[in-house]
């Protein structure tokens, strides 16, 4: 089991260090136009390992810089999603009764709206969204499935011995949540976060590729792909390297999620975002781990 954890952590560590150390590692400023005639659209070489783009910017530097933007966007928006989801789930479960049912129904409605279409619509209609606006947009459209998870988890946890005991001792509301339930909730949240970050990185890449996410001249993996869209065959370096970087980052996050899930939540049947419903309890009784 620990076989999964070590390589996953290694990947993540590599990713984080590359991104954090980015400015130190990149040979040029990401937006510097080195020589708009002579160094335009150069294939990869020793001087420019990932080549240059159409306005003679070094692609390697841009990929590093773009990594920071893409990852920051993903982490921030997923964090936002988690906070909102946890609050929503907590309120729903703790208040209980009609409110709980209504909130869960609302969640169902929200889950049925195709997220990408909304994002496309907003991105297309409003055009250049600033970075904070993007974080908010992606964060606020992405918390529904995590909220579902949280409500289900909390419900399941609520029947466990320790919470029954806590409630018998008189612990109520927020204190119950914070001290007793949250620690048990944490693994699920972290796993959800890992997969969420992976999905968001891919989502940002896709949106920016369509021209609807991060805007030029800011580098992000999606915008570099966008720049290279018309010349996939000839200037392949513009499509290959940011793509590989995206795959690598997504892979690292997914691996982490897998590893964590293996370690912390072996009872659960592998979750897709919307998979867990009331059946999570009985399924745990089915498994017999050697």
């Amino acid at each position: 089991m620990s076989r999964r954890v070590a390589p996953a952590f290694a990947l993540i560590a590599l990713l984080v260090s590359v991104v954090v150390l980015g400015p130190l590692l990149s040979p040029y400023a990401p937006n510097a136009q080195l020589d708009i005639i002579a160094l335009r659209s150069q294939a990869p070489s020793l001087a420019h390992p990932f080549g240059t783009d159409a306005v003679s910017r070094d692609v390697f530097s841009r990929v590093l810089d773009g990594g920071r933007v893409s990852l920051a966007l993903a982490v921030l928006s997923v964090s936002l999603s988690l906070v909102v989801a946890t609050l929503y789930g907590a309120i729903s479960t703790l208040v209980g009764g009609v409110v709980d049912t209504t909130m869960r129904r609302l969640l169902d409605v929200a889950l049925s709206i195709p997220r990408l279409l909304v994002l496309l619509a907003v991105g297309a209609l409003w055009g250049a969204l600033s970075f904070p606006a993007l974080v908010l947009l992606i964060g606020f459209t992405g918390w529904f499935d995590t909220a579902r998870l949280v409500t289900d988890e909390l419900r399941a946890l609520g029947t466990r011995e320790f919470s029954v005991a806590a409630r018998a001792m008189g612990v109520r509301g927020p204190r119950l949540l914070w001290r007793h339930l949250l620690p048990h909730l944490l693994p699920t949240l972290v796993i959800s976060a890992s997969f969420g970050v992976a999905r968001t990185i891919a989502l940002e890449a896709g949106l920016s590729y369509l021209g609807l996410g991060i805007q030029a001249p800011q580098a992000s993996w999606g915008t570099i792909l966008h720049d290279g869209a018309g010349v996939v065959e000839t200037e392949w370096w513009l499509s290959l390297f940011p793509g590989l970087a995206t795959v690598f980052a997504v892979l690292a996050c997914n691996a982490l999620g897998d590893a964590l899930r293996e370690r912390f939540a072996p009872d659960h049947v592998p979750t897709l975002a919307t998979s867990l419903t009331a059946s999570s309890a009985p399924s745990s009784s089915r498994t017999v781990r050697p």
Binding site: Q33, I36, V55, G127, L212, A216, P217, G230, E233
Partner: protein, 559 residues
């Protein structure tokens, strides 16, 4: 399970091989060497309609242009004085009244609509009512303002009556309208015309006729063999829709498509390396510029704090190495724009002078205008206001986005902070043309022959004059240029008008795109006209020695 997989795979492969072998069967049935051939054009979007008056944007223009005819076709020189250079089309001849306030067009009695009905003068009269109708949304109506009415003298003669004598009379009467079949349309009320199925199934008089439209996929036209002016030489032309530009280029280079119009500069090298393709240079009628907002955004009655000063504008013009920028973005396929008109439409480009590229003078001008860097942040300022502005760009234009990034660098070198801001097309349109909520923007126009459009784009009360440039001198010169009958005098007025606007610098004229097209070598084309590559499409043909499979599918092969 595995065994059946293999069998399934094997049978699919067999299918494929058998099918490949089968394509050789279509034989040439009585074809001449001159005719035949299939041209496949790849385009990024499908037109919204093929009804000529509703045509907006460039997507449907080539298809409409070859299915329908005008009364007379403008000459290759794109001259608009009188009827010089115009060639007969649906009208076989015309005569001017003595007072020049009316022109009588005699229609070719052999012309037929694609459904077999003869073309009559009633069609011409009906076309005029449609194009000038209030119920239809079309932007050619203002251009027909000088035509008072069209009357029918006899079934083959239509008379145009004008309000004033103008050099462009003939051009006005013929260029903007494609003749429509009244026998198919006049029973439909004007307000319902937009919804008529004619827009998806057009019937015209051109040497090509419409065949089918697979929504989202392709539009096909074939040669009209019964046409009075002779059938088109090609058998068919298919417009194949591929919105993703990468897929478009791949189709071209993979041989699935023969023709791509919107080449980007980065594809040129690739075309050069592909032996089956060649580039045709095409002077497009477009120009791009960096426009300044001459008024204050918040209170439009006051001049703009930065751009209101002519010295600043001149400095911003001189700080830009326009040649180098053009070379980066368009390689050898762009030219520096000299004026708010493409060179093809400027009578004499040497008759007025440009501001030079001179960074030192630019800096000096900014200094003398009071903009200096007082706080050491490398950005000039004056009274606490930095010399910084946004440049608005529409998301659809990669060249303009590239330009914005390049301009940003050029201006950084003289202490000016320009920030490119990309807006989605609609949002950009609204910000620039409706709300005038911008500092600077990268715009592009496509003027028509005759340059009447300048009244809209740069004259004082022009509706597309986003930066609100107002110069009575320019207005007067423009008016004179447009209304003088004598070409020589007119040319002098044009020169002075262009000099005036060049001195005033309401915008930096950046580029004029030569719009090269990539086409398969087997096609022998006519010279491309600047206002539309498709104008001579009916006379294009395929070199018999280089025919490929799809050229051999002749007309009349059952689908």
């Amino acid at each position: 399970m595995r065994l059946s997989h293999t069998r399934w795979l094997a049978s699919v492969l067999c299918f494929t091989f058998a099918a490949c072998a089968g394509t050789e069967r279509t034989a040439d049935a009585g074809a001449t060497d001159e005719t035949g051939g299939t041209l496949i054009v790849t385009v990024p979007a499908e037109p919204s309609t093929l009804f000529p008056p509703l045509l907006s944007g460039t997507q449907g223009a080539p298809i409409v242009g070859v299915i329908f005819d005008r009364l007379a076709e403008i000459g290759d020189g794109l001259e608009t004085y009188g009827d010089r250079g115009f060639q007969p089309r649906l009208a076989s001849s015309w005569s001017w009244a003595n007072d020049s306030l009316s022109i009588a067009f005699a229609l070719d009695s052999l012309s037929r609509w694609h459904d077999g009905e003869p073309v009559t003068a009633e069609d011409v009269r009906y076309t005029f009512t449609v194009y000038t109708s209030d119920s239809l949304v079309n932007d050619t109506k203002p251009l027909l303002g000088n035509i008072d009415s069209v009357s029918v003298r006899d079934p083959h003669t239509a008379v145009f009556w004008f309000k004033r004598r103008m050099p462009r009379q003939f051009y006005d009467a013929t260029y903007h309208m494609y003749v429509l079949p009244s026998h198919l349309l006049d029973t439909i009320p004007m307000t319902k015309l937009e919804r008529a199925s004619f827009g998806r199934n057009p019937v015209g008089t051109g040497r090509f006729r419409f065949v089918r439209w697979e929504p989202g996929q392709r539009i096909e036209i074939i040669a009209d063999t019964a046409n009075s002016r002779g059938r088109a030489l090609l058998d068919r032309v298919i417009w194949s829709i591929a919105p993703d530009f990468g897929s478009s280029t791949i189709k071209l280079f993979a041989g699935e498509a023969d023709f791509l119009e919107q080449l980007r500069p980065e594809n040129l090298a690739q075309v050069g390396r592909t032996p089956s393709l060649r580039l045709i240079d095409n002077r497009a009628l477009s120009y791009g510029f960096l426009g300044f907002n001459l008024r204050d955004q918040k209170s439009p009655s006051r001049p703009n704090a930065i751009f209101g000063d002519a010295r600043v504008r001149r400095a911003l013009h001189m700080a830009v190495d326009r040649e180098r920028l053009v070379r980066n973005v368009f390689d050898s396929l762009g030219m520096v724009a000299l004026a708010p008109a493409p060179r093809a439409l400027i009578p004499d480009t040497s008759a007025f002078t440009q501001l030079p590229y001179d960074v030192a003078t630019a800096r000096a001008l900014l200094d003398s205008a009071g903009w200096r860097d007082s706080d050491g942040d490398n950005v000039r300022d004056r009274d606490g206001v930095p010399l910084a502005f946004d440049i608005l760009i529409p998301s659809s234009s990669t060249s303009r986005q590239r330009y914005a990034v390049l301009l940003q660098e050029q201006y950084r070198a003289i202490g000016v902070k320009a920030t490119p801001t990309v807006l989605e097309n609609n949002a950009w349109n609204e910000a620039v043309y409706e709300r005038h909520a911008f500092d600077a923007y990268l715009g592009a126009f496509q003027p028509s022959p005759g340059l009447v459009g300048l009244l809209q784009t740069w004259a004082s009360r022009g509706s597309s004059n986003a930066g609100r440039y107002e110069s009575p001198a320019f207005d007067a010169l423009l008016d004179s240029a447009l209304t003088t009958f004598d070409p020589t005098t007119s040319r002098r007025y044009w020169a002075r008008a262009f000099q005036q606007i060049d001195n005033d610098v309401p915008a930096v004229w950046l580029y004029e795109q030569r719009s090269p097209v990539a086409i398969h070598r087997r096609f022998i084309t006519t010279p491309l006209r600047a206002d539309g590559w498709f104008v001579g499409l009916a006379d294009w043909r395929v070199d018999p020695a280089q025919r490929i499979d799809r050229d051999r599918i002749r007309l009349g092969t059952p689908p």
